[in-house]
Symmetry: none
Subunit: 402 residues, 2 copies
């Protein structure tokens, strides 16, 4: 049996960039180690979730790890909350939330003038009502997440965001009988929140400098945290996650991974690449399966910066030399969770390169790791196929039949 | 967002033909424009419906357009009726029908001597009984379609074709209680039809020249016209269809496409190729998605004529130059709906070449459009994957997750 390192470069897939001589970031990058890995196994193209699907990092990570998003992706609320670093438990109800501005009973700005630094608001909104705990955490600008933790909660409730200005903010309504308690508790929370926000020092200050107050919190995207079978249960492996991105750590946490903190790891392009790989290699003593997520490639893609994306790939390449010495006992899998082409600035449904490197298995004819080179490789798969192939190449799969 | 032209060459896939130096029709054809398109995007092999399935044009077009045939293909009756150009409505019940010869109460020829030109019979059989309208349309030789339109109709009824000679023609029986009304009305229709056919001038003439009369119409393949969500509803696109083939126009009509008529378009090998492509290019101003079906490749395959199939492909190639000038704003997708190898003379389950051409996306290593060349391209997919890939490449897909 071999241990596994699954290295996901977020948003790795790219399209031709004029700035890079019509090459993708991966084609343009100096990547001797990635190419050496590609020469030591099989490669191919992987479509996240399915062909042509513009997967998010949430749905694609679920799918890559063997959790069918159709079953386990319960909406934006839970995954937004995970992304803000809230530790969720099965049964929690999570919402995406917006701070908004209400005047004379009507919403006049759904983003409260893109208010910033609302941590003092969110911490003051946290409370417990009728045995239900409310966790509130601020995100970027006007965004936040609200989590309800308690018994008998349901996500079958309406949003309180009317999605238009000049309408009054709404109360939550139950969509079925079982959700009445949840709706009642939310509405008590909203009534209480409005009072607190109205008189909050933070908002008084905003008004005093002529800005819009964040005097309403609107909830949407309600979702129940799914009960997902642990990775250990599914695959018999002790798993760890190394990622500077709260969303990825959150998903790994839900699946029972240990999240390893690494000195200098920050989920940005200036993360400490060397420490990340060192931590992964050390963790091989203790864990069977190590998921690494490098976020920089995705950030560069969203920011439409091909040179930066190339830089991030070169940084990763420069530190993965030690993995090449482990191929006797370790399966190294490298891929992306989706494509974020710099020319597009967002996720696309383009397939992503993938490789499975270890000693002893077939080496296909591919000697370079990039979109075009691997397109003549062994596999044309979707993310659902990754874990079964990993289980087989690491000598961990059970036989199906005799 | 880009507009889309989906060019389906019916039965495009082929096998090696001795007459063409062991090349497929596509390999043998002079096809500079198809090759240029292949150089401007990604290519691959597409298996209609699924790998190895010998799809019909009906099931494959449904699947390519994103309508799962398992769910929406309700039998041969409805699609035979569509193929004869009957405009169907949700809830209609449609049958395939045969004219047969009955003597002394028993069927002696299930095809009435392959009778021809029965239009005068079918039009005289049209009627209305108990509020149910019967539409009858003759097809090739002894074939016809019968459509029932009215309220409370069911397709849970038996066939009236005993499928053997020397048996009496049957009446319809209800397979469940709700179908009794339908069976009763059909049987009234059959009783009436027998009288009309017995005394029909057309049959008297046949008998007078020593031929078998078409004095029975046998019904089979009952199917209810499915309620299918419109293409606009599914994909948010205004869609048009350009096809000389009633079956394809019928399927497109069911999905809410506008069927565009084109001067000289006839669904045969001598259709006006130039006008078809011109009409598609003009339609780009008004429609987001244009489906073109060229039937000639399939006809040549069924007729086992490799040179003719090559000719049809060359005709198409010679007129698609204008599409190459549209690649900035248009996604051009070219494929077949199934393979009709000339050496086989019918549909096979062989995969079909496919290409997605537009500016800005990755160009894979494939520079020629034919079965072998595209087999080293980007995709090995089924027809179910076509629409998601189209939506992604045309910048129309919603993100799944965040």
């Amino acid at each position: 049996m071999k241990n596994i390192i699954l290295l996901i470069m977020d948003g790795l897939g790219d399209r031709p960039n004029q700035e890079l001589g019509n090459k993708t970031a991966l084609q343009a990058a100096r990547r001797p180690n990635l190419n050496r890995l590609a020469s030591n196994g099989t490669t191919g193209l992987m479509s996240p979730v399915s062909f042509g699907i513009r997967a998010g990092s949430d749905t694609s990570h679920l799918s890559i790890l063997g959790y069918d998003p159709i079953k386990y992706y319960t909406g934006r609320g839970p995954f937004e909350a995970l992304g803000l670093g809230i530790e969720l438990k099965s049964g929690d109800i999570a919402f995406r939330a917006n701070y908004a501005t209400v005047k004379d009973g009507k919403i006049i700005d759904r983003r409260a003038g893109r208010v910033k630094d609302t941590d003092s608001l969110s911490s003051d909104l946290e409370t417990e009502i009728d045995g239900v705990k409310f966790i509130v955490k601020s995100g970027v600008e006007h965004r936040a997440a609200v989590v309800m933790r308690g018994k008998n909660l349901s996500d079958r409730i309406t949003e309180t965001d009317p999605h238009s200005v000049n309408s009054p903010p709404e109360f939550a309504r139950a969509l079925d009988h079982d959700a009445q308690f949840t709706a009642d508790v939310i509405n008590k929370f909203l009534t209480r929140s409005r009072k607190i926000l109205e008189n909050h020092e933070f908002n008084k200050k905003l008004i005093s400098i002529g800005k819009l107050p964040a005097n309403e919190i609107m909830l949407r995207g309600a979702g129940k945290i799914p009960e997902i079978p642990s990775f250990k249960e599914k695959y018999g492996m002790n798993a760890a996650c190394i990622s500077g991105t709260p969303l990825i750590r959150g998903i790994a946490g839900l699946a029972g991974f240990t999240n390893i903190r690494v000195e200098g790891m920050n989920g940005r392009v200036d993360t400490n690449y060397k420490n990340i790989i060192s931590a992964a290699v050390s963790a091989l003593d203790k864990y069977d399966f190590i998921l690494i997520n490098i976020k920089g490639t995705d950030i560069a893609g969203h920011d439409r910066k091909p040179e930066l994306k190339k830089y991030v790939i070169e940084q990763v390449d420069s530190v993965i030399g030690p993995l090449l010495e482990r191929l006797d006992n370790t399966l190294i899998v490298v891929t992306g969770d989706h494509s974020t082409p710099c020319s597009y600035g967002d996720h696309t449904g383009d397939p992503v390169p993938v490789m499975f490197a270890t000693n002893g298995i077939i080496n296909d004819n591919v000697r370079c790791f990039d979109e075009l080179s691997v397109s003549t490789g062994y596999y044309k798969i979707t993310s659902n196929d990754i874990m079964p192939i990993i289980m087989s190449y690491s000598d961990r799969a059970e036989k199906y039949g005799a």
